[in-house]
Assembly symmetry: C2
Homo-oligomer: 190 residues x 2
DNA sequence: AGAGCCAAGCAATGATTTTGCGTTAAGGTG
DNA sequence: CACCTTAACGCAAAATCATTGCTTGGCTCT
């Protein structure tokens, strides 16, 4: 998140932020991404454009904030009883969400309006959190688990790379194959 | 590349494209990325702003085109005599270039102004070409080689992911470690 | 409850983007 | 080689968007 100065926790500031974010989501759905402009969003949100410019700097940064919010997972990864199943299920869902037209758009928006890299960092933080949840659960069951970064490097990163740079090579089996690679070839030896 | 309609190959159109690209590079160096505007670029290039708007649509798309051009490798990957050395050397150089402030900026620009994914596709095509050159040379020497996509998925993708989403975890040893992973664990069995 | 301060509103100004129309130069054809 | 067609450029006006100084309103803390 990056509202210009630090946002006051409650009251009017919070209401403005809320209504602006809502306006962006609604207009994005109604009129499509490329038609969004700051004055349009401001009108829908019931604020003046200068409020948006002062708080977010420009449209790119506002869209970046909204995108990160939409990329936040809504629920922790499912627990299916084994590391293998949990990772496969999570990877397949992740790929499906992220590779959809909407998902790709959010990722690109999040990257585009992010001067200091904090929004992009937040995206990877969500993925790291999900992976660590799965790995911790498996460890508790007594399973051998790979390092978090092995999963990030060899499951998450390849999916993201194809989503951003090589669209069209994406199906659920790809996600499962990547998990298999980590599972059989990068797992610490028992 | 994505000039609006198909660019006429020679003559005036080509000259305009050339001078606009040059203007972007010069101004980027002189005044810094965030100060670039279409009218400024147009003035430097000796064209009217409307020419740029008509040909590229907006600043984002123009910068995307210029960025892809700057991401094109200038020379084929070095031949050091073995697959392992070639891959390590190439990966280290790639990481160094791409993770520099300028490199990251170009990558993000290339992604940001790229409605149909063709510029991003071109970026991965450059990497694929370099990797295939290295692999083909090694195969000719009689070495066992991994599939191109194994290198893309487990060397290039992890580096790119960290560059975009997790800055600060990047050093040359990381590139060598990724190569080692592919080399020892994903190589087809002899 | 009152004081201080931060953020939002308003409005004027300046910059950028869009558009219609006339002109020029490429590329093709007789 | 001259002519014809058409895409692309220049110019200028109009519309939209971005910026900024100043004022006003509403949190937060004492």
């Amino acid at each position: 998140m990056s509202p210009r100065p630090s946002v006051r926790p409650g009251g009017r500031s919070a209401r403005v932020q809320q209504s602006v974010h809502t306006a962006v989501r609604e207009l994005q759905a109604e009129r499509g991404r490329p038609d969004l402009t700051v004055p349009l969003i401001a009108a829908r949100a019931g604020v003046t454009p200068s409020t948006i410019y002062r708080r977010w700097g420009d449209l790119k940064e506002l869209l970046s904030d909204v995108a990160v919010e939409r990329l936040r997972p809504e629920a922790p990864p499912a627990d299916l009883g084994s590391l293998r199943e949990d990772l496969e299920h999570w990877a397949v869902s992740f790929l499906e969400e992220m590779s959809s037209p909407a998902g790709r758009c959010y990722i690109r928006d999040a990257l585009a309006g992010d001067p200091d890299g904090s929004n992009a960092g937040q995206c990877s933080a969500y993925a790291i959190e999900a992976v660590e949840t799965i790995l911790a659960r498996a460890a508790q069951r007594g399973e051998h688990v790979p390092p978090t970064d092995a999963v990030m490097d060899h499951v998450v990163a390849p999916m993201m790379y194809r989503i951003l740079f090589r669209q069209g090579l994406l199906d659920p089996q790809y996600a499962r194959d990547l998990v298999a690679t980590v599972f059989y070839r990068l797992m610490p030896l028992p």
